[in-house]
Amino acid sequence: MQQELNTGALDWPKEIYDILASYNVVQVPYVPDGGHAELIKRIHGDPKMRPVSLTTEEEGIALAAGAWLGGQRSALLMQSSGVGNCVNMMSLIKACRFPLLTLVTMRGEWGEFNPWQVPMGSKTQQAFEMMDIHVLRAETAEMVGDTVRAAARMAFEGGTAVAVLLSQRLIGAKVFVK
């Protein structure tokens, strides 16, 4: 099994990391995904950030709320399949009007080999919107920086709950090798 990361000339995971750092994001809860691997590595290498490995994505929604209560900014990293796990926990965000920034790497939408990824991947945006989380989407490496910056601004300066979907076309479809 291997994964091709189409970062191209633009190192967009580094760009995301720089934006999170510039917004003083401290807690970074995550369920690992290949598309987030480089970003997770950078976060583990930064003593000013606090990576929090989760057992399931909904933990990250609750953690983000607790961090905000304590005056700290967070960014939740997950894969599209994890979004479905979060749906009821997102009531916490809505009922208490917590800000949220989550960055989601997409599976099941572009050249997907594994059909089990498609049901959730094709409904990820709707799952967020069902719970009134605002969705922004980055299709290309060039779009990532502006999109994440816009989302961080909405979350941390506007108090909005925002998800950024990083498209599978951007990340590259996982290649399964026998």
Binding site: G60, L63, G66, R97
Partner: protein, 196 residues
């Protein structure tokens, strides 16, 4: 295990909080929220009315953000069962200022007293210990409560999980505010942050 009479949940919570100073208390939905309210409303109380399974992780996020502030998460056995993964996540982070008190009566009191998994099989203190929580204890007698009260109001060596056996009696409901926006703003302002 002793055969002492199980404790009264309201008396337990009142005892744990009677000498609170800067403690922040988060309660899981249902009886734990009513118990926390019955012990006296406080701007450092954050009552959950939903988000089942998330109480411990809210406590973790807060404990990481405010490492010198003692944080208590008060929950029932049903809440703990729904969010068992949190024990493993907390054990990765090892906050010294986070205590979890599980009021364990082995039943889902809010929904008609159906038996929970702790009634005949699951030992939540053992689950927490197996996940890596360094300090776990099962409390079945009133005499131990003074020491637990002291512990939750202080910072320890690491996170702690206390399972307190309570009786299954249904208590009169004590309903705190359900306004999540107000509860969030109140706690944030209390800690010195802007309301949003």
């Amino acid at each position: 295990m002793t055969t002492s009479t199980p404790l009264d949940r309201r008396a337990v919570v009142a005892r744990l909080l009677q000498d609170r100073k800067n403690l922040v208390a988060i309660s899981s939905l249902g009886s734990a929220t009513y118990d926390l309210a019955a012990a006296g409303d406080h701007p450092r109380n954050f009552y959950l009315w939903g988000a089942m399974g998330g109480a411990a992780d809210i406590g973790l996020g807060l404990a990481i953000a405010q490492p010198n502030l003692p944080v208590l998460v008060l929950m029932g056995d049903g809440e703990a069962l729904m969010g068992m993964g949190a024990f493993a996540t907390i054990a990765q982070q090892m906050p010294k200022n986070l205590s979890i008190v599980i009021l364990d009566n082995g039943l889902y009191g809010e929904t008609g007293a159906q038996a929970s998994h702790t009634a005949n099989a699951t030992d939540l203190a053992a689950v927490a210990a197996a996940c890596g929580i360094p300090e776990t204890e099962v409390i079945e007698d009133e005499a131990s409560l003074a020491q637990i009260a002291q512990r939750i109001n202080a910072t320890g060596e690491g996170p702690a999980v206390f399972v307190i056996r309570i009786d299954g009696a249904e208590q009169p409901r004590c309903l705190p505010s359900r306004d999540g926006v107000m509860l969030k703003a109140r706690l944030r302002q209390e800690l010195g942050f802007e309301s949003m």
